[in-house]
Symmetry: C2
Subunit: 705 residues, 2 copies
């Protein structure tokens, strides 16, 4: 398969060049409905931009620029050469997604600058103004005075108008797996808050006043502002340093082993910096700006790419019932020696067949098996060669399992945990993908738990950013879809690489196993933060919410069972896991029915209600069907609401099956209490939803033929 660029693929092309002019003085202003934008070159030749929404300022005048190697400072003394302008209105169809087609409607300004001096340096800044915000990127044209260069710092500013309420996690270079803190901008302090949970392997927060993106803020006058980036390619991830006194955020790029931020050659385009803004929280969740700022699919034939639900031989290891590793006596036995089995190894042929049986019987398409390959005995240390990606443990008969899965119509999902050893993985990648092709694995989960090798590099730095893309491209060449755990948080690249179905890159449901878990509000924040960049493999669907971990009776999920179901709708992903083990589903097959039925690809999505940290209600229409699925969740607070079904077809009748919290449900004291009822509905119906503390409701609305 070629990865050749095909601009017209899946693109309903209707670009309207409304006007196209050049000018050579500032300020330049543009308006798109409520969003106002101004670019200025100030008296010192500093490029600045500002954003407003309706009559309110969203971003006050903010400076743009760079510091490069050899003491080149690209921050002031610029001269405006000209400004080009163009308007675009087009619609395109994603290979999969929340909606079947996406409108890309913006006005674009390209500001051509030259820094004055003996050896002028050319810098273009491209702004795209949408109805829901602004995206901009820097472009370095090919030029004599700047061929190869090092980015020492990008100094992009976002000047906020006040001490906004902010949902933030600290700017770790290697992880996004934190609980969110909501605080005013002025109170951000990664060292002050209780952020570092148990079990974190690597913590690297050199700047206590810096935060990860997507960063979600809410102003006192009700503006929702989200800052992130789009199309992160060949560059390091942007974090934001917070000037707590002046409410100014400044880009802070993740460094490499030498402390540099990126290595470039002109011509080069940075990722887009994105500001999504609205006076309605639901608009933030509906925004397609980040997808629109990414390039169309590089994969020409996408017919092999399919969203799916899957189960995993995983949760039983995660809760400590069984083990990934085959032996506990690793000394001198590693790889070359004779293994002495520990008797607790989950990925054995018999157990895998048991999962295949359950999945096949209950219509779950895929099965992930972790801990099947050699290397799990010694992999969190600093040695480079950790895993062997083609050699199963002696009790995992890959041939037999593949045949059995095929026979039962279940798709096996490969697992390649690298332990952070990216160089080792790159060396073995060709072999690993040939192995997948040989044994019929069409999907892959990769992992980067532990410190990165090349040593001194970080999960979120330029080298690893490129590595993840290499793994996606290699997967595409082998017709394999990919789900990356522990990469940098996504930036919409699944438009360009639609085989990149999902990633973790955030604090998943699995953390509920650990002592402090995820607070009930967690899933009401994630769609405003982590999910802004792309789908998350959150692994919902845990039914046994207490007493699941041997020897750890105090641990429990911070959720009701009904909420676990609602997450399949509120946490968008084309790849959704039914995370629990068959034995925990079997007592609740009535509730499991929702997991069986819920779609993973959609024609339409309505964000009905949303407030970060409080609640989310979303309705989605299944791809190619008239079925709707609704998820409603709440945080710690109980929530009573009325749901209007006015999005339903005028002429159709429906049956709604409602999976709600039981009357006495409560995430802490009675999480397993749920009620299922069916009612006839139409577009005039209103449903009363009653969500328990930490609870939720899942609804399947099916047309009556």
């Amino acid at each position: 398969m070629s990865l050749k660029r095909n601009l017209f693929y899946s693109l309903i092309f209707s670009m309207l060049v409304l006007k196209c002019f050049s000018q050579s003085s500032t300020p330049v202003s543009v308006r798109m409905k409520n969003v106002g934008f101004t670019f200025t070159l100030n008296a010192k030749g500093v490029p600045q931009y500002a954003v407003s929404y309706s009559k309110n300022n969203a971003i006050l005048p903010s400076s743009l620029g760079f510091k490069l190697d050899q003491n080149v400072s690209l921050t002031e003394n610029f001269r405006l050469i000209k400004v080009d302008s163009v308007s675009v209105d087009e619609t395109w169809k994603p290979v999969w997604g929340e909606v079947s087609q996406i409108r890309n409607h913006y006005k674009q300004l390209t500001v051509h600058l030259a820094q004055q001096g003996e050896k002028p340096i050319l810098l273009d800044i491209v702004f795209r103004i949408f109805e829901d915000g602004v995206g901009f990127r820097y472009e370095f044209p090919a030029q004599q005075n700047l061929k190869s260069f090092i980015v020492k710092d990008e100094v992009t500013e976002f000047n906020m108008t006040g001490d906004h309420k902010t949902f933030w996690i600290p700017a770790d270079f290697d992880s996004n797996e934190y609980k969110y803190t909501s605080s005013p901008l002025s109170q951000i302090n990664a060292h002050k808050w209780d952020l570092i949970s148990s079990g974190k392997i690597e913590v690297n927060i050199p700047d206590q006043y810096a935060v990860q993106t997507p960063l979600m803020m809410k102003s006192a006058n009700g503006l929702y502002i989200n800052i992130h980036e789009a199309a992160l390619i060949d560059y390091s991830s942007m974090q934001l340093h917070v000037d707590r006194r002046n409410f100014k955020l400044t880009s802070s790029l993740v460094p490499d082993a030498r402390g540099n931020k990126a290595y470039m050659r002109s011509p080069f385009k940075t990722p887009w910096r994105t500001i999504i803004v609205s006076d309605r929280a639901t608009d933030i969740l509906s925004s397609k700006m980040i997808l629109n700022l990414n390039e169309p699919s590089k994969i020409e034939n996408t017919s092999w790419i399919k969203p799916m639900k899957f189960m995993g031989v995983w949760w039983e290891m995660q809760v400590g019932r069984t083990s990934w590793n085959y032996t506990d006596q690793m000394d001198s036995l590693y790889l070359k020696g004779k293994y002495i089995p520990n008797g607790r190894h989950a990925a054995n042929t018999e157990n895998v067949k048991h999962y295949i049986d359950f999945a096949a019987k209950n219509g779950i398409e895929g099965l992930l098996v972790e801990g099947w390959n050699k290397g799990w005995e010694e992999w969190t240390d600093d040695k480079e060669e950790k895993f062997d990606f083609v050699t199963p443990y002696p009790d995992f008969d890959v041939q037999e399992i593949s045949a059995y899965a095929k026979q039962n119509g279940v798709k096996m999902i490969m697992h390649n945990e690298t332990g952070g050893g990216a160089t080792s993985y790159e060396r073995q990648m060709d072999t690993a993908f040939r192995f997948m092709n040989k044994y019929g694995y069409g999907s892959l989960k990769t992992g980067y738990v532990s410190g990165i090798i090349p040593r001194g590099e970080h999960h979120d730095g330029q080298w690893m950013v490129n590595h993840y893309i290499r793994s996606i491209e290699k997967a595409a060449q082998h017709h394999v879809t990919i789900d990356i755990h522990e990469p940098t948080r996504p930036t919409g690249l699944h438009r360009t690489y639609p085989n990149f179905l999902a990633s973790e890159a955030g604090r998943g449901n699995e953390w509920n196993f650990f002592i402090d878990g995820n607070p009930p509000e967690h899933e009401t924040i994630l769609p405003f933060t982590r999910l802004i960049g792309g789908p998350m493999d959150y692994t919902p669907g845990v039914f046994k919410l207490r007493n699941y971990a041997p020897g750890a009776p105090d641990r429990q999920m911070h959720s009701t069972l009904a909420k676990q179901l609602a997450l399949y709708v509120t946490m968008y992903s084309p790849l959704q896991m039914a995370a629990d083990i068959p034995e925990n589903y079997e007592p609740h097959m009535d509730a499991f029915k929702f997991i069986q039925d819920v779609a993973v690809d959609w024609d339409d999505t309505k964000v009905i209600a949303a407030e970060p940290g409080a609640y989310i209600t979303i309705a989605r229409k299944a791809k190619g069907k008239d079925d709707w699925f609704i998820g409603a969740i709440t945080g710690e607070d109980k929530r009573k609401s009325t749901l209007s079904l006015d999005f339903l077809d005028k002429n159709k009748k429906y049956i709604a099956t409602i999976y709600g919290d039981g009357k006495d449900a409560d995430w802490k004291t009675n999480p397993e209490s749920y009620e299922i009822k069916s009612v006839s509905v139409n577009r005039n119906s209103k449903l009363k939803l009653l969500l328990a503390s930490g609870g939720g409701t899942a609804i399947h609305i099916k047309p009556i033929n």
Copy 2:
């Protein structure tokens, strides 16, 4: 081909277990002819060793130990568990070499130590005492209290007896391409001496009092002592910090990006630390200790591995007549763009055919072509993706050239310059070797000019040490021999990997092109230093010694023409280049005859005379023939000597063709003056040699049938 270990391959096995005992108290002493050795555990539980030669001390009591991560100090408080002893006397045949068989004769002590404390750590030290010195290594047995660990420092001491004369280069982490300084130990100071030559791309000398190994010393009482290491695998290179007051040398390992020295898991064996000692300088050059301390060949079928001579489309670029790169206008044209040729590109089909014609006509087996592949426009910068190893420039028709070379019996040598981008090379390696196999390239020259990627790693660190071995193993799998430029200096690994024919890893003949060049003494020091670890691709055979570089009339080789010939014998390598261009050889085809005739593989070698910094005379018997070749070189001083031919066969008559300096020859004023004469000789003959300043003599002694 499998790389399976075959211990018995090429090994004439005659191990004699003379005695085998255990004891559990120190001191333990061993003698092998002149070499005396003592191990002691002193009162503080510090392991110490000492070496003597004849009646003189060579190494005074010196401590051994480590500093590991988590503040584990393995330097004292050891308890002796037991000492095992064994004697070995065996003979083995190298696949190629200076001699047809090698005796491996030593007594071995294995000292089993345990550090006292709550969690005792086990450490074994293995000493091998030879007739020409001592080798020792640390071994960490598999153990509960030390599984995975980081070496923060190895603290191996070498306490010298006085202020020895020392031939040294500074401890750069990334290069050995320095001129040697000869000074007393007390005067070593890398920042003081004029060491850094023009054209060095990366200089990294964080310790001005540290030096590279092999380190050659001579004591006031005439002992020659050489310190180096053998079998450097999965560990970083050892440099030596010099305590100038106490004449104490301490191991200083090359750090990685994090400042760590090595990442290990027990069981683990360090490389051998080697001390070669004798009262005769010629014994140092004859020593096979480092080869003996390496493992036998891992390559089972070695029939495809052949030493050879070769020419190169290279020197013409090196001196600036032509270019490696195809275009000078690289901006925006790199890789994807259309190239505008600069008209100076050497690796074009026509020019390559011209070299093939010359090589074929004159019996030179191989031809290296540099600058044939895309990437030479932008490769010394910091970007990772520099070279494309399978895409020729438009004027290099690989198919036509391969066919033409085959038709003319010339073997093409592949060139893969990485620019230090090791990760990029590893990703492309499979493709690159398939390309070599497809077009019939059986040999490869690799290069690592410029800083290493992974960034923060060094040429001489553990990661790159493993990378070089990966490239050797990958080459072996594809039946390709390899010549590595800019690796760490060799440590005898060509025994284990006989397809690893040579490396540069030192200051080659090419430096004579640069302004300060190599002083005439340089080649009299290299065999005592750089070559102790393995063959060097020095690229001798430059015939046009002045006025070869356009626009640089002041540059000249620091050598006479006859010395260039003698180097083929004095600088041992199974891979010898005839470095000059055909046009420069054509006026001197009488002298070129020696390059045609000289062997590259040997049945026997006699080091007749040697003094580091002054002179070397070596005679070698061609493999499977009765021909002898002799090389005699001198430094700045003229040298008159009488050469006895008593190594010749008693019953044979010979013709000696002598390629000597002309009477008026002088490297500076008249380097091209040479004389060729033939005389009949036998084993009673004595030849008078007269070497000019910077001169040499090459002799071919051929039996008369």
